[in-house]
């Protein structure tokens, strides 16, 4: 940890991301849907090897209302393969340490299913450090916040271009791990260009926090990652990864794609910082 003072009170995920950010590194958090293929955990290893700074692990839900077609399809595929919270976490348990934090993302129904306490405890047992729940806005988060904190799970909150400034401050303050900046008013999914709203939102978040800010939704190419890096501390890349996986790309193929993103982020870092 290069800057232990700033990270005081922060959990492991946040400390990890802060420390990497503080080296000037653009953060890369690729996403994979748990259970998407028989050997899906190999993707996690490949991501780590390709220079991911954290990995977002989606627990597939039957009704992914904030996801575009790619992740919808990935969820359906995984569920059709029999994926479930229990089985995905079980798959993780045998894994060696990845060296980077695992952040689970899923819809709140799956959190409620066994109850927030059991859910967070299970995540913790599986070695997960953070949790993203896209349909749990800050004002509904009370029920989960303390439980997650107690279990050592950092509950990441999302901010959107539509979030008014005072609320943004609350989100930034109550978020743990990092702040997930939703780049655009839309669902997950690849886009031709980074939304204009991305820059503005990131600036607005920066005004109220020094927590790491990762920009997600629509970041799909090295160019877009580079551009995102100009505003945010890093990017979340989901649909661009999952489209490749759905098209049959294995861990090695993904490693190459992630490497290109890594490289773009590093270049931008070299230039800008």
């Amino acid at each position: 940890m290069t800057n232990p003072t700033l990270a005081a009170g922060a959990g492991a995920v946040e400390r990890h991301l802060r420390s990497r950010r503080d080296t000037g590194r653009g953060l890369l958090m690729p996403y994979v849907t748990g259970g998407i293929t028989p050997g899906w955990t190999d993707y996690l290893r490949a991501f780590a090897a390709a220079g991911a700074d954290a990995i977002e692990l989606g627990l597939p839900f039957s009704d992914p209302t904030l996801d575009g077609v790619t992740i919808q399809q990935a969820s359906e595929t995984a569920l059709a393969r029999g994926a479930s919270t229990r089985r995905i976490l079980a798959d993780l348990s045998g894994m060696p340490d990845l060296g980077v934090p695992l952040v689970v993302s899923t819809y709140y129904n799956l959190v409620l299913h066994d109850g927030p306490e059991a859910f967070c405890a299970a995540l913790r047992r599986a070695g997960v450090g953070g949790l993203i729940v896209p349909d749990l806005p800050v004002n509904e988060a009370d029920e989960l916040t303390d439980v997650a904190a107690a279990a050592g799970i950092e509950l990441v909150l999302l901010a959107s271009p539509a979030t008014p400034q005072p609320r943004l401050a609350e989100i930034a303050c109550r978020s743990r791990g990092f702040v997930y900046a939703v780049s655009l008013m839309g669902t997950t999914g690849e886009r031709a260009a980074l939304a204009a709203s991305a820059a503005e939102l990131t600036e607005r978040i920066r005004r109220v926090t020094d927590r790491p800010v990762l920009l997600g939704f629509g970041v799909s190419t090295p160019d877009q990652a580079r551009e995102a890096r100009r505003h945010a501390d890093g990017v979340v890349v989901g649909a661009a990864v999952m489209r490749r996986v759905l098209d049959g790309a294995g861990p090695d193929d993904l490693r190459a794609f992630l490497a290109s993103l890594r490289q773009a982020l590093d270049q931008e870092c070299d230039r800008a910082r």
Binding site: D63, P64, S84, Y108, L136, L158, A159, A162, M185, G186
Partner: protein, 399 residues
Amino acid sequence: MRDMSPWPVPLDGTMGEPRERGRFGEYGGRYAPESLVEACREVDEAFREAWVDPGFRGALARLLAVHAGRPTPLTPAGRLSEALGVRLYLKREDLTHTGSHKINNVLGQALLATRMGRRRLIAETGAGQHGVATATAAALLGLEATVFMGERDIERQALNVFRMRMLGAEVVPVTTGSRTLKDATSEAMRHWVGATGDSHYCIGSVVGPDPYPWMVREFQRIIGDEARGQCAAELRTGVPDYVVACVGGGSNAAGTFAGFADTPARLVGVEAEGGAGAARGRLGVLHGCRSLFLQDDDGQITEAHSIAAGLDYPGVGPEHAHLRDLGRARYVTVTDDEAAGAAVRLARTEGIVPALESAHALAWVIRAAGDGDLPSGSTVLMTLSGRGDKDVSTLKELL
């Protein structure tokens, strides 16, 4: 299923405004993606203002009267009552313009959308009734309309699809999941995220993030309020012993119950056997609210199955979950066959072809009158939520 036990009747303000954060007991809330939270807040604010604004109330009342055909009659089901040994009255939402109670809510939301400066309505639809109502209100007020509908429902409800298109609405087929109402709702929400600036999401039932469950119930309470007055004029007892309505998301039931929550009337919500969120769901969150949903052992939402497209939803509005917990309302289920049989029976005895959704409520009345669950001589108010024109091809295959 016998109901001989004493029936708890709390008279104290159930079905008033929800508690803070849109809560009905532990249900409700605004479990919306952050991108929609602000839009929900705006709807909430606009609705609260409008609902106490006599100008808005007056404009809505006029639309409901001159365009939608309110008040709807209370029809004594004479021949059927005699056969069943109860006194059955039908609140005739089937006689509204577009043929179901959905228009009550839609006119309210469309007027609100205009007030909010929105140019377009987004809607999900199952049976197509809400979609037709939305397309109608949009045409009437000069708005655009985009309606999401599951591919399976598009097949089952072809008539309504064409009605929507004829009304100028864009009908977007939803090909994901079960290709029914649940998926159409998800898709409408996804679409709304990208369109909050100029579009209002016009949810069709008492579901979704706060303020929808409350707002939609308020727009539908005209059913119960009218019926309450009509019962007062028509019944010796003033209030019926039972108030029965079918429950998909639960809007016609909520609107009906709202008129009787402070009376001793026993409230009965009738769900489809294969879509019984209230009767068999467990706690969960879907489409923006915390309520009861059909789920598998892994917490995945399961597909509902009902002959009635409008009941083909795996959840129920949060207020119904609360009324169930309170014991203020009871939720029962009937099968596809019972519903189809009830539809034919009503047609043959009263000359009314009901929507298959509404036929569920009747099927329970028939069954309960037969097995004594409804004591003989009881007065029963049943909301006939819609007409059956849309369902005749389905029934044709069955009969």
